[in-house]
């Protein structure tokens, strides 16, 4: 694997056997070249062992054979230059056959290596990501572990039970949450908004977004709701009628406030409080906002892809794994970029793609390793090569190595490497995002969530409103 991009997961089981067969076929082909070399050797011997029956060119005294590999053969005294030419050609051909043989052998090894790595990808992923988790988090977790109350950790057991990061985040979230609850109440108001910040200018009409067409396009599109205003997210419909599918765009953290009142804007669900809630396995105002937005505009049973960056990525993962929401919508795809969404098992019905790089710390704060599998692909750039640096150089929106443009560029680079499993996943996700239907009608809704306001949730919008006995226990509501 070259240049620091690791792709794990995806559907590869059937392909590995075909790859093995291809590797064997390439080795057989190399074997045929070995046969060819044997024939070449025979030809060389035949040419060398001939005697001198035909002095067509008179001996001139000069030695036309100097340096040739026929010096010691019986052809030399007076042999025809034609034989020398033939021997030269044979030598050239032999070298070419040898080179071709080596190339085919290398190619066979590459195919075999690909097959083996596909089969072993899960272990590779876990090792890489374990190494990527900052040492400081582990040390902090070890220090704080004895102070963490057991009931303050994750609530549903799905977010990395036993993970030090999850425990610390959960405890911090609980503590901050208690402070916030006392000051501003628990209510979440969700409003559709039609105006916001566009291209840095406030109070502009928010645009109807074109169908992204690709996952990279969706990541870039996320910048629109990201910059549109506090607490804003978007839902896009692509196509109409029976063909309609929906894309939920969840941008990342806007406010680093965690306690409310003192610093920042606690009203904004896109804040560090939601980050801590989600990493700690708790419900968050941001996922509640997303659930409410879905309830407002997405009909039951509709096909939905959820795309999220950073906080939005882990919120997206929580949304598509929520058992109640899964009963209402068909979550066909999940895309996260720079999100600490590891440790959350995404059901097979949802094709999941995580994009991350080691130069940004956020996606390394996973409560657990990325659970790659046949329907869960992870693209990880090590940061030790030029991919991330070049993307940083060309990033139009800032945000450093955690920025959306960098994640989109990393994914584009990974796509260009044509990993079969990634190709398959991208083709499916791209279709859901409008690839192949450039003329499909689109409509975009923007929503703003506000904490501490009068509650305006649609009936049944909350993830825990409708839990049957068959569902896993719901997360505790905040």
């Amino acid at each position: 694997m070259g240049d620091g991009i690791t792709i794990t997961g995806g559907y590869t089981a059937a392909e590995t056997e075909t790859m093995r067969r291809a590797a064997v076929a390439l080795r057989d082909a190399a074997g045929r070249l070995d046969d060819a070399r044997l024939e070449v050797a025979r030809a060389r011997v035949a040419l060398r062992t001939g005697e001198v029956p035909w002095a067509v060119v008179p001996w001139s005294g000069a030695d036309p054979w100097a340096g040739a590999d026929v010096w010691a053969t019986r052809w030399r005294p007076g042999a025809s230059p034609a034989v020398a030419v033939a021997l030269d050609d044979v030598s050239a051909a032999d070298g070419a056959v040898l080179r071709a043989l080596g190339r085919l052998e290398s190619l066979a090894l590459a195919v075999l290596r690909a097959a083996r790595l596909y089969e072993d990808h899960d272990d590779v992923a876990v090792r890489l990501l374990d190494a990527a988790v900052p040492v400081g988090i582990g040390a902090l977790a070890a220090e704080l572990d004895r102070f963490v109350p057991p009931w303050a950790g994750d609530g549903d057991g799905g977010a990395g039970d036993g993970s030090a990061v999850a425990s610390v985040a959960g405890a911090a979230s609980w503590a901050f949450d208690q402070a916030a609850r006392g000051r501003q109440g628990d209510g979440l108001r969700v409003d559709e908004v039609t105006q916001g910040t566009v291209d840095g200018r406030p109070d502009q009409p928010l645009p109807d977004l074109a169908a992204p067409g690709t996952v990279e396009g969706a990541l870039r599109t996320l910048e629109i709701p990201n910059k549109a205003g506090h607490g804003v997210m978007a839902v896009q419909r692509i196509g109409e009628g029976a063909d309609a599918r929906y894309v939920v765009l969840l941008p990342g953290t806007q406010s680093w406030n965690v306690v409310g009142g003192g610093f920042g804007d606690f009203a904004n669900p896109r804040d560090l409080t939601s980050d801590l809630d989600l990493v700690g396995g708790r419900a968050s105002a941001y996922t509640d906002e997303a659930a409410e937005a879905l309830a407002r505009v997405v009909p039951d049973g509709a096909s939905v892809v959820v795309v999220g960056h950073s906080l939005g990525g882990i919120a997206a993962t929580r949304v598509v794994t929520d058992p109640v929401l899964r009963r209402r919508y068909r979550f066909t795809g999940l895309v996260t970029a720079g999100a600490p969404s590891g440790g959350i098992a995404v059901p097979q019905g949802t094709l999941a793609l995580n994009v991350e790089n080691a130069r940004e710390i956020v996606s390394a704060l996973d409560p657990g390793p990325n659970p790659s599998g046949p329907r869960h692909v992870v693209v990880h750039a090590s940061g030790e090569d030029d991919v991330v640096r070049k993307a940083l150089d060309g990033a139009p929106y800032g945000g450093g190595s955690h920025g959306l443009a960098v994640h989109a560029a990393v994914l584009a680079e990974a796509r260009a490497r044509h990993d079969p499993a990634l190709d398959r996943a991208l083709a499916e996700l791209d279709r859901s995002l409008g690839a192949g239907t450039p003329d499909a009608a689109t409509r975009t809704w923007y929503f703003r969530g506000t904490r501490g306001a009068a509650v305006t949730l649609a009936p049944g919008a909350g993830p825990a409103d409708d839990v049957s006995a068959d569902d896993p226990p719901a997360r505790p509501r905040r």
Binding site: A46, A82, R99
Partner: protein
């Protein structure tokens, strides 16, 4: 050497004595290399196999081009050998064994 027409049947030397030597061996080598080219192309004909190979440092195009080059050079060498053998056939005999004879 003067050629004489003859009304009499005469024994024809087996091909191995003359041209079933260098040129024939090189023809066989060329055929083997062409087989190798065909087999490699068939193995790589599944699109994602070649793409997977590329993803893991496999130089697909270079390998096929190398085999093409080998086939081409083997053909050229066979031509050269055949030319040399033809010149032997055309040249007056000076005695001794013939080139490549067995």
């Amino acid at each position: 050497m003067t050629e004489h027409s003859s009304a009499f049947a005469r024994p024809v030397p087996p091909p191995a004595a003359v041209d079933a030597t260098a040129s024939r061996a090189l023809d066989a080598a060329g055929a083997a290399a062409a087989d190798a080219r065909l087999a490699a192309a068939r193995a790589l004909d599944v699109d994602w196999v070649s793409r997977a190979a590329r993803a893991y440092d496999g130089r697909v195009d270079e390998a096929l081009e190398a085999v093409d080059g080998a086939v081409s050079l083997l053909g050229a060498a066979a031509g050269s050998a055949r030319g040399a053998e033809q010149r032997w056939r055309d040249a007056p005999s000076c005695g001794g064994d013939r080139p490549g004879g067995r």
